[in-house]
């Protein structure tokens, strides 16, 4: 069957865009990666027929997005000492703000208020998104690879050429940052 890129764009373009936007959270990047995906698909000979087109295209798109995240992680300039992969030792600066010298919480985590109902759910997700946008690009990309793509740690480390320990430290820092941001903007509301 002859591949038809224009048909891919018409039939699957919006879906591919949503898939990319959900993971990259940047409309321009999402548009670019959809374009790249369709171009790559045109060059690819493994297309197996119309019914499988969306799955096949999504597979290519997923690889493109992970490539992009990998680039973001590798190329983002160091944002302060604490963000440098090489200096990400367990007792790096930056985490001190969260704990006192004896290892106790400096500010105890605020009490838990899960979003309730559709409206709250929506508000919560908006805040979560803006908190993710505030993470340093490197941490956000690593966090996405782990928690959105659910890539295995070993695969992430191999792709990024970092050690497991570095990955754990960076993920820890990403989660600490996200949690703090949510605490201020969501949990702190009530």
């Amino acid at each position: 069957m002859k591949p038809n890129p224009h048909e891919w764009l018409t039939e699957h373009g919006d879906y591919l865009y949503r898939f990319a936007l959900a993971r990259l959270r940047d409309p321009h990047l999402a548009e670019d990666v959809v374009q790249e995906t369709l171009l790559a698909a045109m060059q690819n000979q493994t297309f197996e027929g119309k019914s499988a087109a969306r799955t096949w295209l999504t597979g290519i798109l997923k690889h493109k997005i992970i490539d992009l995240m990998r680039k973001q992680i590798r190329e983002t300039p160091t944002e302060g000492l604490g963000e440098d992969i090489a200096s990400s030792l367990p007792d790096e600066p930056g985490m001190d703000d969260f704990f006192s010298a004896d290892g106790h919480w400096a500010d105890s985590p605020a009490s838990f208020n899960a979003p309730d109902g559709e409206l709250q759910q929506k508000q919560f997700l908006t805040i979560l998104q803006s908190c993710m946008d505030r993470l340093p690009a490197k941490l956000a990309a690593l966090f996405s690879m782990r928690d959105i793509f659910e890539e295995e740690n070993e695969i992430i480390c191999k792709e990024l050429e970092i050690t497991s320990t570095n990955a754990w430290v960076m993920l820890y820092r990403a989660r600490m940052g996200l949690r703090k941001c949510l605490e201020i903007h969501w949990m702190g509301r009530s």
């Binding site: 224009h6 373009g13 949503r18 936007l21 993971r23 754990w168 949510l182």
Partner: protein, 84 residues
């Protein structure tokens, strides 16, 4: 010997990325048994993980989110110029 909240919070995060060793699990369990702040922290991380997934799923299935017409036309032109 109980581990500190700082150590416990690290183990809680790492438990999302790897299987903790038996010794780590025991230390963490003992800490969580007496520390409601770290239990709260653990609940928050779980909530974040679930919410991020929900959020991704929601955008992915929101049919009102579409490629703009400009983007579609631009991509169509690029396809055209690359079509054999």
């Amino acid at each position: 010997m109980l581990i500190s909240c700082k150590q416990a919070s690290r183990l809680i995060s790492q438990s999302l990325d790897r299987k903790l060793t038996l010794s780590e699990r025991l230390k963490l369990r003992a800490h969580l048994f007496v520390c409601d702040m770290c239990r709260r922290f653990q609940a928050h991380l779980t909530m974040i993980r679930i919410s991020v997934k929900r959020f991704t799923h929601q955008i992915e299935h929101d049919e009102s989110v579409r490629l703009s017409e400009e983007a579609k036309q631009r991509i169509a032109r690029v396809i055209e110029s690359n079509h054999p």
